[in-house]
């Protein structure tokens, strides 16, 4: 009896869910988005959510911003159809990522899916899309593995950790040319997928470019303290520290470095925590002069006015949604662009047919000046579906702001090198 009751309940729950899904009216194109909206990464997930919603608003409303589909209402080739985004929370779990992607595709009838920040969740969520033959656009997972799987329906706009890591060493080479003595590096990274993946490429390129690694310190991102880790680094006294951390640990490690008086010539961080909107406000002066690879910076606005324009809109949006204005960061900017790339493809497909959208994505060719990114544009490799026109930049925290310092032709300011001693 009870079992049957439970079963009926389960069926009821499911049918309730399915009755919510409207038969997609032609006036609307529904896109799914699977992100970590609760749990440890909730902050990042919510930034992404606001960015994607902003992009959808720019498509839907007639806004005078020179982004793709900014002018005019909706998607012109679909009779002005509006874009609606349905969000789902994967709580950083690969299983939930898979099931939520499936639910969005089969129940909510989304025509394409975006996701999922965490590389391991992107792995399973995109697999669901692959099986259900639905385009999946990834704007923010940098594990190189993802585009090596030969998937037909998976597309990635962001450059990968491989390219970013090499960029570090090119930069170090340039600095040497400018007369800095850089003899060795130390690696410091959190030990889940992101950090270990990054460290592998850093090791590869350190060897290739001839920098001995004097300390290789992996740490648990859930640590309550990083005293031991920083002591090890201090003992090795490297010239340059290559760090890969999420938000909590990025803040904690910087504080601990100050407490234990550890100061290399430079810290090169692999974005994530070091460019999260929390990092500078939490640390104030102690964040000064940290370098980070970035995919984006507000400072790009000096050369690209569109960046400032979009950021103003984002500040308004977050002010309305969360009560405080938040500046865009590398993650929200990539999500914003990802949404526009997808909308552009659907518009060119002129249809909500999955195969047509896929074909349109494959023929994507967006010029760099229509994007808020430093990229040369968006164009997918025909085999791997990795964006071939992406590139990274390096930013430095100067007077509390992220300033572009490399590549030199995009730079808004000179690199400050070495780091000032603590408290100065």
């Amino acid at each position: 009896m009870s079992r049957r009751l439970a079963l009926t309940l389960a069926v009821l729950a499911v049918s309730l869910v399915s009755s919510r899904a409207p038969a997609a009216p032609p006036a609307e194109v529904v896109i799914g988005a699977v992100y970590p909206l609760s749990g440890n990464l909730a902050k990042v997930g919510n930034d992404i959510k606001d960015a994607i919603e902003l992009a959808a608003e720019l498509v839907n409303d007639d806004v005078d911003v020179p982004v793709p589909l900014g002018k005019g209402k909706g998607l012109p080739n679909l009779g002005g159809a509006k874009v609606r985004v349905v969000f789902a929370d994967h709580q950083s779990s690969p299983e939930k990522g898979l099931s939520e992607a499936e639910r969005l595709i089969s129940q909510e009838r989304v025509v394409a899916v975006m996701g999922s920040y965490n590389s391991n969740v992107t792995a399973t969520a995109s697999q669901a899309a692959e099986r259900l033959k639905t385009p999946f656009l990834n704007a923010d997972s940098t594990s190189p593995l993802l585009t090596s799987r030969g998937f037909r329906w998976f597309f990635r706009t962001t450059p990968t950790d491989d390219e970013f890591s090499e960029n570090f060493f090119k930069f170090l080479g340039e600095m040497k040319k400018r007369g800095k003595t850089i003899k060795n590096v130390a690696l410091f990274y959190e030990n889940t997928l992101f950090g270990t993946d990054v460290s592998k490429f850093e090791k590869k390129y350190a060897q290739q470019y001839g920098y001995p690694i004097v300390a290789d310190v992996a740490y648990d991102a859930k640590s309550t303290n990083l005293n031991a880790e920083i002591q090890r680094l201090k003992a090795a006294s490297p010239d340059v520290l290559l760090q890969a951390s999420y938000t909590n640990d990025a803040i904690l490690s910087t504080k601990t470095m100050k407490e234990l008086d550890f100061r290399p010539q430079a810290i090169l961080a692999m974005d994530a925590g070091h460019v999260s909107s929390e990092y500078v406000p939490s640390l104030g002066k102690d964040a000064e002069s940290v370098l980070s690879r970035e995919v984006w910076a507000l400072g790009l606005g000096a050369k690209k006015p569109i960046v400032r324009q979009v950021n103003e809109l984002f500040r308004k949006k977050t002010q309305a949604a969360r009560g405080q204005p938040i500046d865009m960061d590398g993650t929200s900017a990539r999500a914003f662009v990802g949404m526009l790339v997808l909308a552009d493809a659907i518009n060119r497909a002129g249809s909500t047919d999955a195969e047509k959208i896929r074909a349109a994505l494959e023929s994507t060719d967006l010029p760099g000046d229509s994007l808020i990114m430093p990229w040369r544009g968006v164009k997918f490799d025909p085999k791997t579906h990795q964006n071939t026109l992406g590139s990274g930049i390096l930013v430095q925290i100067q007077d509390g702001k992220y300033v572009v310092v490399y590549p030199f032709d995009l730079a808004a300011a000179e690199v400050r090198w070495p780091l000032a001693t603590w408290g100065k």
Binding site: S2, A10, V14, L37, S99, E102, R131, L193
Partner: protein
């Protein structure tokens, strides 16, 4: 009447995916069955023998990693990997049980947490097992022999069969001498020992069976998601969820874990569908509140509600 209900449930479970054909309702039911399987396995150790384990993820991970590594490095069929994983988990369980069964109550529970955490950290730092990056299984090559299916139906019936096997095994054990001894150990271990119950041996039996069944579920999970990494198969939260399913359903009873899974999984899915997209975690607020409500009003689990319903029906007759 009991047999009638059981038969009706079995038929309903078998027909379910044929009626609801979408991948999402099928996925949801696969999760229900998988959780019921895990809850049943936990129940043999925690419910029947009264040894609270909060480290079941260790065994789940052992199953998932054994079959996946065997396939990747030696091309061994996942079905063989399933058996190997179960055997390894059982051996591991015996090795854990031998020293740890000297501990009682919370000390044992925290020891299982400690072992689970150590296992998670160890695999994260173990390059050969994919480390933090995890392991991918190839998507292509579907079929029963490969333990890989293009649609959900295959997975559905496989996990249903696993569950049926575990429930049958649990029922059989409970009815026999083992069940009798376990009850004695659970109620009062010292008293049980004094009347000649070989407590350690029977606790070892419970943990070995529990571990083997949990490892089977782990292999299933790996084949189903085709991707495993430490945070998805070895976290403390999984161990707690397994325990939660069994306890909220009704620890120590046969139907408890089934009931727990059938209610908890759709409940968490429904709250997350209705409220999760908001990004404000309202779904988990509701979920936490419901757990408290059940603990307060049905401390012996959902099975208590079912029993009361049944007794009301039978008194009416």
């Amino acid at each position: 009447m009991k047999i009638g209900i059981a038969a009706a449930v079995v038929v309903a479970v078998l027909l379910y995916p044929l009626v609801l054909r979408g991948p999402y309702p099928q996925h949801l039911m696969i999760l229900v069955l998988l959780n019921a399987l895990l809850g049943t396995a936990w129940n043999i150790l925690g419910g029947f023998a009264g040894q609270i384990s909060l480290g079941q993820a260790t065994f789940f991970g052992a199953g998932a990693y054994t079959s996946t590594l065997l396939f990747q490095h030696a091309g061994v069929s996942p079905w063989v990997g399933l058996v190997a994983g179960a055997a390894l988990a059982a051996a591991l369980a015996l090795a854990i049980g031998y020293p740890c069964f000297r501990l009682s109550g919370h000390y044992f529970a925290i020891a299982t947490i400690a072992i689970g955490e150590i296992a998670g950290i160890a695999v994260t730092n173990w390059e050969f097992a994919g480390g933090a990056v995890g392991l991918f299984l190839p998507v292509e090559g579907e079929g029963m022999a490969a333990f890989k299916f293009g649609d959900k139906l295959g997975y559905y019936y496989v996990v249903a069969a696993f569950l049926a096997l575990s429930v049958a095994l649990a029922a059989w054990l409970r009815r026999g001498r083992a069940g009798y001894y376990w009850r004695a150990i659970r109620e009062d271990q010292a008293a049980a020992r004094s009347v000649g119950v070989p407590a350690l041996r029977y606790k070892q039996l419970a943990i070995a069976i529990s571990a083997a069944l949990t490892a089977m579920a782990g292999t299933f999970y790996a084949q189903y998601l085709l991707f495993i990494d430490p945070p998805s198969v070895l976290p403390l939260s999984l161990s707690i969820q397994i325990c939660l399913v069994a306890v909220l359903g009704g620890a120590g009873t046969l139907v408890g874990p089934l009931l727990g899974a059938a209610v908890l999984v759709p409940l968490s899915a429904a709250t997350s569908v209705a409220l999760g997209g908001s990004g404000r975690s309202l779904d988990l607020v509701v979920y936490g509140a419901l757990i408290m409500v059940i603990a307060v009003f049905e401390p012996s689990g959902l099975v208590g509600i079912a029993r009361r319903l049944r007794s009301r029906i039978s008194t009416q007759r």
